[in-house]
C-alpha cells in the first residue's frame, strides 16, 4: 500500500523536478485515481496509527519523567526565588553583597582552603575542620555519658523520678549561659567551648534513650522472662536493639544542637573555627565571607543530619 503511494508520489515528485517528498502533499490530490484514493485512506490510517504510537510513547516518557521533575523542580524554584529576593534586597541595600559577588568570593576562597598564615589567618577548610573537631569531642563525650545515663534512668523508675526535675530545670537553659562556668573551671577557651557543646547536646540523648527504654514493648520483655534470659542477654538482644531507633533520634537532635551552638561558642572563645571566622570577617567588614560562612554552616549541618538519617534507616525494623 505504501509502495503504491510511494510510486505515485515518486512520479508526482518527478514531475515537479524531483524536489523531494516535501512537495508530495500538495500534488497528491491531483492524482485523482480510485486506487490512489484507497491508498490515501490506508496511508492515512497507517499514519494516524503511527501518530498514536508516537503520542503514547511521548506520554509514557512524560509519565516516567514526571516524578523526577516533581522532585527536582520545586527545590530549584525555591532556590531561584531565594536568590531572586536576595538580589532585590541587595540592590535596595548596598551593604549586602549580591549573590554573584558572594559566588566569586566563594570561588576564590575555596580555591585554597588549607593555607596557614599565622594563628588568625587560616584557610576555610581548617576553620571547618576545627569546628567539626570541637563538635566531635563535645558531642562524643555527651554521647558517652548521656546514652548510658538514659539507659539507667529508663530502667530504674526511682532514679528517673530523681533526675527528671533536675533535667527539666537545666534543659531549657541557653547553651551560652554555660560558657562562663566552663571558662571558670577549665581556665581555657577551647575546653570551655567543648564543655558548652557537651552540656547543650547531652539532653536529647538522655531523654530519648530513657523514653526508648521505657517504651520497649511488654511483649519483648515477656519473651525475655519466658525464655529466662540473663540480664546481659536482655540488654544485648532486647533492650539495645529495641531502643536503638530512639537513641539514634536523640543523637540526631543532639548533633543538630551541637552544630547550632558551635558558631556562637566560637564567636565568644576565639581560636580557629567557623564561628570565630565569622566574627573575624565581621571585624574586617567582609560581608561576602560572612554569607559564605552561613552557607557552609548550613550545608555541613544538613550533611550531618542526612548521614544520621541514613544510619537510622539502617536500624529501622519493619
Amino acid at each position: 500500500m505504501s509502495a503504491v503511494f510511494a510510486t505515485n508520489a515518486g512520479n508526482a515528485a518527478g514531475d515537479a523536478h524531483g524536489k523531494g517528498p516535501a512537495r508530495v502533499t500538495p500534488i497528491r490530490p491531483v492524482a485523482g485515481a480510485a486506487a490512489s484514493a484507497e491508498a490515501d485512506r490506508d496511508s492515512e490510517a497507517l499514519a494516524s496509527k503511527r501518530r498514536a504510537e508516537k503520542e503514547a510513547r511521548r506520554i509514557a516518557q512524560r509519565e516516567a519523567l514526571r516524578p523526577v521533575v516533581l522532585a527536582v523542580l520545586p527545590p530549584m524554584l525555591g532556590f531561584a526565588l531565594f536568590i531572586g529576593v536576595w538580589t532585590l534586597v541587595s540592590q535596595a541595600s548596598p551593604q549586602l553583597p549580591a549573590p554573584i559577588k558572594v559566588w566569586h568570593s566563594a570561588v576564590q576562597l575555596f580555591a585554597d582552603p588549607f593555607y596557614r598564615k599565622g594563628p588568625n589567618d587560616q584557610g576555610i577548610g581548617w576553620n571547618i575542620l576545627n569546628s567539626l573537631q570541637r563538635v566531635g569531642i563535645g558531642f562524643g563525650l555527651a554521647a558517652a555519658v548521656g546514652i548510658p545515663l538514659g539507659f539507667i534512668l529508663g530502667r530504674f523508675g526511682f532514679l528517673n523520678a530523681m533526675a527528671s526535675p533536675v533535667i527539666s530545670l537545666l534543659r531549657p537553659v541557653s547553651p551560652l549561659a554555660w560558657l562562663p562556668i566552663g571558662l571558670l573551671v577549665f581556665k581555657a577557651a577551647n575546653p570551655a567551648a567543648i564543655w558548652v557543646i557537651f552540656i547543650s547536646s547531652i539532653w536529647p540523648m538522655i531523654i530519648n534513650t530513657a523514653v526508648g527504654v521505657q517504651r520497649v514493648p511488654q511483649d519483648y520483655l515477656n519473651v525475655a522472662r519466658v525464655l529466662n534470659l540473663s540480664e546481659w542477654r536482655v540488654m544485648t538482644r532486647i533492650l539495645l536493639p529495641a531502643t536503638l531507633p530512639y537513641v539514634l533520634t536523640g543523637i540526631r537532635l543532639s548533633i543538630g544542637v551541637a552544630w547550632l551552638v558551635i558558631v556562637a561558642a566560637e564567636m565568644l572563645t576565639g581560636g580557629v573555627g567557623i564561628g570565630f571566622w565569622v566574627w573575624d570577617e565581621w571585624n574586617n567588614l567582609n560581608v561576602e565571607h560572612i554569607i559564605i560562612a552561613i552557607f557552609v554552616v548550613g550545608i555541613v549541618g544538613l550533611l550531618l543530619e542526612q548521614l544520621l538519617l541514613l544510619l537510622a534507616r539502617r536500624f529501622n525494623y519493619a
Partner: protein
Amino acid sequence: MTDATNSIGRPSTPSSAPARDFVRIENVGMTFKTKKGPFIALRDIDLTICRGEFVSLIGHSGCGKSTLLNLVAGLIAPSGGVLLCAGREIAGPGPERGVVFQNHSLLPWLTCFDNVHLAVERVFGASETRADLKRRTLEVLALVGLTHAEHKFPHEISGGMKQRVGIARALAMQPKVLLLDEPFGALDALTRARLQDELVKIVAATGSTVLMVTHDVDEAVLLSDRIVMLTNGPEATIGGIVSVELPRPRDRVELAENAQYHHYRTEVLEFLYRRQAHVEQAA
C-alpha cells in the same frame, strides 16, 4: 529448682511426678488493683492437667482465659491459691513451660534462626557445644517446616510462618508443658487449619502436655482431650468441662459428619451462647 534445671529434657519415666496431676491449679484467684478499686478477674479455679494431655480454655473475650494461662506461665503471680507444675510451685516463668504468644512476639531484629537460637542457647548453652546448639535449632525449625526461612527476618515472612517460628521457639526449650495463647487467632482460616494439623503432629511426636487458650469452638473440639469452659468475667471461674473422647488421629473432614463431634460442639456452643450469653452486659 534443681530438678527443673538439671533435667529439662522430657522426663522419660512418669514416676518423677504422678501422671494424674502434672499441672495442678488449686483454689486460684486473681485480683487486679485498678484505679476504680480491686477487680476480681478469676476466683476458685481448680484444675489438674495430666501428663500428655491437651487441654483447651474457652470462654468469651475478657473472661480471664489469658490471665489463667499467664498464671501457669508464671508471668503473673496469683492473689490466692497455688499453682504447681511437676510437683513444684510455680514462682515465675521457667524453661519447663514454653509459651507461644498470641502475636508471635518474635524479635524483629533477629532472624528466624536467631530467634529460636536465643531459647536454645539459654536452656542448653551450659551443657552443650556450639555445634549441638546449632543442630538443635535447625532440628526444631525443620519440625515446623521452616528450614528454608532460617535466615529470613520476621518482617519478611507471612503471619503463619511467624507463628510457626513462635511455636518452634517454645518447642526448642523442650518444655514439659506447652502454653498456647490463642496461637492461631490472627491467621486466616486455611492457614489456621494447616497449622492446627501441624500442631497435632508435633504434639503427637513430642508427647507434649498442652494448655491452649482459644475462642474457636471447632479448634477446641478438634485438638483437645478436655475443654475447660470459663464463665463470663468478672469473677470468672470454671463453668464446666467437656471430655472429648474422639479417637486420634482426628481428621477434620471426617469429623464434619461425625455425630459425636457435633455433640461435643453443641455442648460447648450451648454453654457459650445459652448459659453464658450476655457477655457485653456482664463486661
